[in-house]
Amino acid sequence: MNTQGNVVSAEEAFAKKAERDLISAVKNGDKQAYKQLYELHVGQVYSLCLRLTSDKGLAEDATQEVFIQLWRKIANFNGESKFSTWLHSVTSNITISYMRRQKGWFQRMFNIEDSEAMHYEASASTDAVDLDSYISRLPERARIVFVLHAIEGYRHEDIAQMTNMAVGSSKAQFHRAKQLLQEWMGYE
């Protein structure tokens, strides 16, 4: 067990060093290294974008936006936290801001108010079993708060700052999300 533990540690240490080297190369403007970094993390970024937006097209656009801005912001990464943690924070902020702009466009275009009855790409099926399907059906603000708090582990204070809502509203939206999930998952 000890040996296995050592092997895992050595692998982790190696992976960390490789990532540090990659980030350092990117900071020096190496685009090939940036492509490697993209390939390593695109799944993680897209997955978070998709959960936040609940829309494939928006999630793809937001993912591009994240990696375009990341190229400019990577010099700000000082290595104090894990890169993936920092990247999650950057992704959340950029995606929320992207959704805000996009929502403005849709509302201007179709004069649609945010309402529970209108969820982009909401699943019409009521027997969807996986949690992601339920999450995609949540109203936008409840969904964002749920994803950031329950899945990504952000505090309500952080979410309030990211989304420009009061801390109390973030807690209320989380409660609302859980109530809806509880209902849909048949626990009421």
Partner: protein, 174 residues
Amino acid sequence: MSNQDFERQLASQIAQLDKQKQPERDLWQGIELSLAKDQAEPQPRKQAGNTVILRQTSTWVAMAATFAFVGVLSWFTLNQPAPQSSPDMMDVAMTLSQQHEAQKQALLVRFEDQPALTQNWQQQLAELDEAAKAIKAALAQDPNNIALLKMLQHVHQQQIDLIETVHAPKWQQI
């Protein structure tokens, strides 16, 4: 079933969530183009929305801007000296156009039997085709112009957005 059961079930499902999902289309190409443009313009852009994506812009406003821009380009093209060739960039433009055409045709087939929200969408589509042609002509004159390549991508995206928007029921838009 109790609240505790629900909390347990929820926590278990959250732990099992897939944290790595791959996008269906290749996003790197667009990112790379935008980075190339950044290098060509050393001043960092403050508005993140002004990237290769450009989908947040109102389609109608963007279309008006496109036609105005294409008008200027056409004038420019007619008044330019002899062309210089740069096969690489033209290849990129050609590949983009081929990919776009395949995507457009697939969408048109998909929505073939679905009623459209507006009557004149095909005319708008044809106008965007004309815009794309004018941009490609300008690109042939100035093959190293990344801005033109981005404009071409933008027009392609507008066509896709137009087809999707006029065929998607309103309730699906938000």
